[in-house]
Symmetry: D2
């Protein structure tokens, strides 16, 4: 009945949406695990076939989602546990983690738009080693094994005039990292998922995704190296939130005779097209998530 | 039929809402002027009586609204015209503008939440004179008449632990300005008003208003000096945007038999309570508005 | 022989300077303690008499200095030890620490000048409780005893047009805290003291002190409540660094016949008057010190 | 007699230093022009030969210096004149300015260290066109001729782990601009040159130059396209300022018998090695220079 497109960057929600309407999807595996002690639910959606990819509207690959209701608590012990869990998931998804690798971490997003500033805040707090190891060797860290970790913040096209994919591709070709990790703020369908969900996928970044609606893909295909994307939904697309409520209401009216023609509201949806819904404490959220995610990445990339 | 509260800080919208539902309001005067050359529409809502204040849900006083569709254009000439127009309106509302006065300009809002950062961005670009005149006299500016202009950014209670009203009252009592000008980001009902409307009022700041939902009043009554508030709506409250769409749809269904009970959606509205809708280019908007408003204030306060 | 004024905000250096030239000072007590495990040296200078105050050029009171060569290391364990040590010193200097008090922490300095941004960075990371306790009570923290902690960042006179002392006095009179803690970046005489020395004193802030050369005092006398000042030297005044080197050279030449007349260089010293010397990695320094000091204050003010 | 190296990024000062000590330099042409109305002095140093380059310690090419004592005045009319003058100089140095070109403007420097933040502040205010023209054509600007202008801020190696030259080279190879303009904060020898001097050169960036002591060259040789560097000195290297004063004093003592052995002060110079001298109002300076330089670049690159 919906005459508008529900927008979500979460594979979890895409699957839920299809299941609601069409039932089980072939070519898509699903498993979930709940860590009661940490109060973290980890789900794993794996799209195995082209059919599954088509149905889901997302490419083949693995999508891990961590959901932690308490993720927003300022409790430092809890945030440390989330970081540890994130590190575990990363170590499973990033290939060759037992070998020393060169890893470039890119913080996508616009630092000046709070809800889209997650990437920049994460890279602010990463442990960067590449320049020290190249100049002084691993001995500088008293380590026998070190990853060469670098980072960057490519900004947004409205300010640079360049696609972030152009900038990142140029840097990747010049510095030849083994792996690219990309951090991005996402759009979810449900406000209940905001700020407490982390999606980690080996499918990189797809066109149209992210708060900033990325124009180009950042994938193994386009860049030649594995691209691991880490995202947290911080906004719900405004048209999605209104359309969702209208659909529920339409079902109600529909029972009494299909009076609702959502097609009558194209103007509203067009106006909402450039808007998003976010929470009022988004600055505290981004600050906290910045630490949680950077710590998870730092733990994952350190080699004992 | 609406079972939710439409939220708006704009007197213009409050009046429209009542007119739609109840017709003309006693005790509220209304006049509008359109400047064709500048493409600016200036409306003046004056609440004269307690009844009018009660009906409008806003205190007695004058509310001037400037609407300029082109306000968002990066065209520097146009933005200069808006500033000039704003200065004219300010000079009418601020008492005793022909005399030299001490004027404190306060930028309300949270610098770290883009949509609420209007106040801070405006005070960043003000022409501050108080310390120079107190130390070196008006001669420092080669002027025979100067206003003593000071400014501050009190932050938000979540970060300071203090009500902004406590901070401002303390500073007003200590430095004894003649007039307080307060700048704030507002919430509108309609997304069509966002970022291109300036409201200037001599009623100060009311509890519950602003993107930050101010807890205390900043008024002549509470501070002892005239308080002129300048605001631009940058967000629509999320519950308002959904409720608005639902109401329109409900009217549709209602024609066919009141099937819609908006009371069935209390959970949705509760969840939306802490969220707002804003535009994706909010950083560019705030940057531009910061210049437009500060220039208008600078022009208004300079004495030739 | 020095014909210029050595500038230092550190009581420790003021005392060294006098000792070098005049020997022991009456009315000034001195004791030092070295914690070998933590590699922190804590000295205590207590000015007991007016004569001592006159000789030192600093008011009567207690000046505790923590010197930790390793303070700049990014080692998180080490920085935690410094914070714990700082908390111990604070608990000795702040009166009535066993009782629940209302404590206002002020971050002096200019956020936009990196070497002067220490105050703002510290208050960014404080645990603020006043608004929560006033609204929900201590139960909100599951605590039987809580201090009411608030903070602010008054900015600088060049931007506000007001003396920071006016702003702070106004807020103190309005919110009536029991204690004021002030954080400030300082000027030292020797670059060897920069970034690794913390001075804590119960004498508040004196006119002329700080990177920003504060114009007014913030003391128990001026504000009516105890004022504890915490400072770290981040700059050396440029005239001081040149004059210091010239003095040493002059001593050299002086042995061969007083050829050096430093009075010949007044122009240089005047030009240098508005300049300071700071280290190139000042951003990393301020970021780290921000955490170290805020953590120390948080530990000191928590009540178990 | 100087046993230390005077550090300056200004060709003007390098030439003065040599002239003082050695007289005229072969292979180096010099001409100056003074615009009395604008109070701007424009000098042109052209290094024609390898010998000249060796003597000057700077590569062959053209170095234009604009000196404007009033450059710091907040007077908006004056700053506009400096921008116009800068635009004229740029149009002479940038090749093929009559043709439509793709121009990448890079803001070097560390945004978080105020004295080194000039590059980032300039690119913040540039008129960026590349993405709009590529998507909508020149018609989007109602123009028949447009330059494709893009920009970036590569950050600093301490934060990214990568040389800025690696990042820039990667982006240049990917987006293939015709010209690179680089903005950087410089080190001068004399504090009298700070903040009021603009150097524009077609020799790009040399290793060791800039407040950040760039490690790699950004030149036509290394990047394959013309590199125009625009710089303003904002700091004096601390060892240089002390050494300079000592040299003058040593000359004084020297007249009476070479008692001064600057070699005795190696420890001081080593300690000063990581430090610089800058002015206290550096934030206002960087803000103003950011506008002046960006406006000059915008004017130079617009095509009427």
């Amino acid at each position: 009945m919906g005459s508008f497109q529900i927008r979500t960057d979460l594979a979890l929600e895409a699957r839920e949406n299809i299941e609601e309407n069409e039932g089980e999807i072939h070519g898509v595996r699903y498993e979930e695990k709940y860590d009661e002690k940490k109060d973290v639910k980890v789900t794993r959606v794996v799209i195995d076939t082209k059919n599954g990819a088509k149905a889901m509207g997302k490419p083949m690959g693995t999508y891990v989602t961590m959901e932690a209701p308490g993720m927003l608590e300022p409790d430092e012990d809890y945030h440390r546990e989330i970081s540890v869990c994130l590190a575990e998931q990363l170590k499973e998804l990033i290939p060759h983690m037992d070998a020393e690798q060169s890893i470039l971490v890119v913080g996508l997003g616009n630092r000046d738009v709070t809800a889209d500033a997650l990437g920049p805040h994460v890279v602010d707090n990463l442990f960067i080693t590449r320049h020290v190891v190249k100049e002084y060797g691993k001995a500088a860290y008293n380590a026998s094994k070190m990853n060469l970790i670098s980072s960057m913040e490519p900004g947004v096209m409205a300010k640079t005039g360049m696609e972030t994919a152009e900038i990142i591709k140029g840097v990747v070709m010049q510095t030849a990292p083994d792996v690219l990790i990309v951090i991005d703020a996402l759009a979810a369908r449900s406000i209940r998922r905001l700020n407490r969900t982390i999606q980690i996928t080996d499918t990189g970044i797809q066109p149209g995704s992210g708060v900033g609606n990325h124009r180009n893909a950042l994938t193994k295909e386009s860049l030649g190296i594995p691209v691991i994307a880490i995202g947290v939904p911080t906004v719900v697309d405004a048209a999605t939130i209104v359309g969702d409520a209208l659909e529920r209401l339409a079902k109600e009216c529909g029972d009494s005779g299909s009076n609702v023609r959502l097609g009558e509201y194209p103007k509203t949806f067009t106006e909402l097209g450039n808007m998003y819904v976010t929470s009022k404490d988004i600055d505290a959220v981004i600050k906290r998530l910045g630490y949680t995610l950077s710590e998870g990445i730092n733990i994952a990339l350190e080699m004992s």
